[in-house]
Symmetry: C2
Subunit: 501 residues, 2 copies
């Protein structure tokens, strides 16, 4: 069976065991792995942890596509094996060490990563470890459930280790691999429709650099999405109503593609289409495709879905793999520098929907840092989509921690996206289209329509005092602007009746 998967004969000699393969990874190795929420290697990380448990003292620099599973980020972080990690991650153990300054972490817009690696900005690519469905007759690589930065990592790696996944037999033909040229002399990325395929169904690979091939029966463990709750469903309704209204008013064409960020709220927005009667044939040009996309395909509502990864629950993955011949006509997986390319997102006119930790009254957005200091996750592709979408929306439940924290604050404690990248703000209480409004009008609307009633008074008090006492284009009282954050840090609760005098 493994021979079916390693169809390039000379590489069959490279089939080996994890311990031998992992000998290529030593203290200080720059390790570039596949994985973009799904499709990460499983055996090599486990072997590295085993070596550490046996007393070996070493650290690696770990570069992936985006987040991986607990088997990679979680276990390697707990074993203290990671010196540097780039880019996006969302693992709670790794996050803890990053916040303690014990793991070095740098966040980047995902669309720019591969080009930086090719330009040598991340240093030598010592070893690439890649999960694959198969190696073709010509010695090229078929990835699994994600593409991410793998094409560039494979191109630049001095040594390549491949984990052939037993669980992804029929994935061939779903990927579209195109590595753009690098500046200054290069041509456009020739995607004109969501469904367009512009590259090859495999990752071009020099088989001479493959040092080991492993056979893996491990599965991806993707975050479990909960079914949409009332707040998420309400947000989805606001968005679909708004877009439908814009189309009716002739301010938006009816066939713009949709993007939704990762997580429950974003998943819920797409699930909103399930009950909707206005949209019949949608394109999804996104980064991560979640369960909701499969549901929509099954309902016949999707013309094409493009992304860099399929992050599916176990049940949905089973459904997907069992019926892959049908899904393959609809789904394209691309390198993240293509799924997130500003050029393509702007050309297609994507409706971009992304989540936030907090949003301020002027529409500035914090996607990454809790209370301004503690990294929660990376910025991911949110900046690529928000900046370049035809209409860009930030969605968030109005509160967190059971109502103790307001997602609407006077000033966000960290800015990832400026107001200029945000067209529309939505919570379960309402939607504000900021485009025709001045910053002061935006503040008034966001407080009245988006904030949770428990926080409206104090936000309004603050804003009114800022207008009176300081004025300006965006009134703020700098020395009090974080009073809600400060109160939370002191008491664990942002709620009070009014802005303190």
């Amino acid at each position: 069976m493994l021979a079916d998967r390693v169809r390039y004969k000379p590489l069959q000699d490279k089939i080996n065991d994890p311990a031998t393969a992992a000998e290529h990874i030593q203290d200080g190795t720059n390790l570039f792995i596949s994985g973009f929420t799904a499709g990460y290697p499983k055996l090599i990380p486990r072997e590295l942890v085993r070596r550490s448990e046996n007393g070996e003292d070493f650290k690696i620099n770990l570069f992936a596509g985006a987040s991986t599973g607990d088997m990679v980020d979680g276990k390697l972080a707990r074993a203290d094996l990671v010196a540097w990690r780039r880019p996006y991650m969302s693992d709670k153990f790794m996050r803890e060490k990053i916040n303690l300054g014990k793991i070095a972490f740098k966040d980047d817009h995902l669309s720019q990563l591969s080009a930086k690696v090719r330009a040598g900005q991340w240093g030598q690519c010592d070893v690439a470890v890649v999960e694959a469905a198969a190696i073709t007759e010509q010695g090229h690589l078929i990835p699994t459930m994600s593409v991410g930065n793998t094409p560039t990592y494979v191109q630049k790696a001095n040594k390549i280790i491949i984990e052939i996944s037993a669980n992804s037999p029929k994935l061939e033909g779903i990927h579209d691999i195109f590595i753009p040229e690098d500046p200054p002399y290069r041509m456009p990325i020739p995607i004109y429709r969501t469904v367009d395929r512009i590259g090859k169904p495999f990752i071009a690979m020099d088989p001479d650099r493959v040092v080991a091939i492993l056979f893996s029966t491990e599965q991806d463990h993707c975050p479990i999405f909960t079914p949409p709750n009332a707040a998420a469903s309400r947000i989805a309704e606001y968005i679909l109503d708004f877009v439908h209204h814009e189309i009716k008013k002739d301010r938006m064409p009816s066939s713009l593609p949709w993007q939704a960020g990762v997580g429950d709220v974003a998943n819920a927005v797409l699930s909103g289409f399930l009950k909707d009667n206005n949209f019949h044939s949608i394109d999804i040009y996104s980064e991560v495709l979640q369960d909701s996309v499969l549901d929509l395909i099954d309902l016949g509502k999707v013309r094409a879905a493009s992304g860099s990864a399929l992050t599916l629950s176990e049940k949905a993955r089973e459904r997907f793999l069992n019926d892959i011949d049908r899904y393959r006509d609809k789904v394209v997986l691309r390198p993240v520098e293509i799924s997130n390319a500003p050029e393509v997102i702007r050309r297609l006119g994507v409706i971009a929907i992304n989540t936030a930790i907090e949003v301020d009254i002027y529409g500035q957005v914090n996607s990454t840092h809790v209370m301004g200091t503690q990294l929660m996750n990376g910025i991911g592709g949110s900046g690529d989509f928000l900046r370049n979408g035809a209409v860009s929306m930030i969605v968030t439940p109005s509160t967190a921690k059971g109502g103790l924290i307001s997602a609407i604050v006077p000033m966000v404690s960290h800015v990832d996206h400026s107001e200029h990248s945000v067209d529309v703000v939505v919570t379960e209480y309402g939607l504000v289209d900021t485009r025709p409004l001045t910053p002061r009008q935006v503040a008034e609307q966001i407080i009245k329509k988006c904030a949770h009633p428990d926080f409206r008074d104090q936000l309004w008090d603050y804003y009114q005092r800022a207008v009176r006492e300081r004025g300006g284009h965006e009134p703020h009282i700098l020395e009090k602007v974080f009073f809600m954050h400060q109160r939370f840090l002191e008491s664990g609760d942002m709620r009070v009746k009014a802005f303190p005098s």
Copy 2:
């Protein structure tokens, strides 16, 4: 002579006087004008002010390409004639009224404007007033020293008023007018080299919508650039050294095009090439071309210079117009949605250099709001270039107001560009390449290398205390984070020995 300029015969009947022409502009008119630092209309604004001085009570909504001169933004603001203004402006009288909330103002990324107008997001385009060099035999329009959003304004306007400029006789052939299609079904913007011309040398116009043609002998009054001072020259040296070093290390190709923002510091950076011996044939793919570009062309150092406007001192403008046949081979003026197109900036791999009001220790940038509240100017195209450049630099003298204000602060009081859009920070004290650094390493480097010595101790004290007391990926003490701004607001001076306990 005017007949030479209005070569489409039927329009010669439309030649008229400003008072009659301006009757098309009444209370509530949405007025879309040419002008992008240069090339704004002069006669109609003056006539509107005259009507106001004669007691007429009215207000208009004013939309331009970017900033204009005192003859437009200054005079109209002083006469209280502006209800709404979009997008960029930098006039001190208008700014004052915007900060008082008396003129409504909304800031937008310049690359996105024309498309929003075409989509109807700015409302009806009642009247366009456009400065032109000529009207062609076919009734099309030759703009003057800028293009900005004029092609779209002319396309959408119900009525068009043209001011033929006596001072721009031979500008034909310098413009390249291409209006991209709108999403979702559109093709790439086919620019592959800085010099490429992809459109027509005129703005397509329906002559039937022209309601009046005026003849103007007024000149543009562009901001006077001062010759580079020591700080600006030092910044230019750091940048040229850095880029030269990156090229030598093979981390950057040698022929990336350059962009420099508007103003003295940016102008100085390009002037740095005058004395430089490493760069012999540069491309400039920018937004506004200033005097330094002409100097470089005269020295034979420029292969091509592309922008949306030529903002020249009076002397340089004379030189340019006298020798236009030579300059025309090197200079292309484009619509701002093309000069600033993310697609093209990223494809070409522009080295983007933009100025800031303040930068914080983690590399977040404030380009627009003094002390977080008072609008200084719009964001302009800085976001288009910083986000999409191959290498993006923020440059600023380390202090302002004769040393009383530090341009390096713990947290910027307003964020226009997040750290993710900024690769390199430069002051006259030094340069920090943030790309290989964690946020904490960035903070340490920026304090040590970029901050003015008068402020290093207090910044260092603050940072150290934030690390000790709060920790996290980006340590901050939220309730004290604006202590330097607060001190300035109270005493007019940010300087003290140390961070207050």
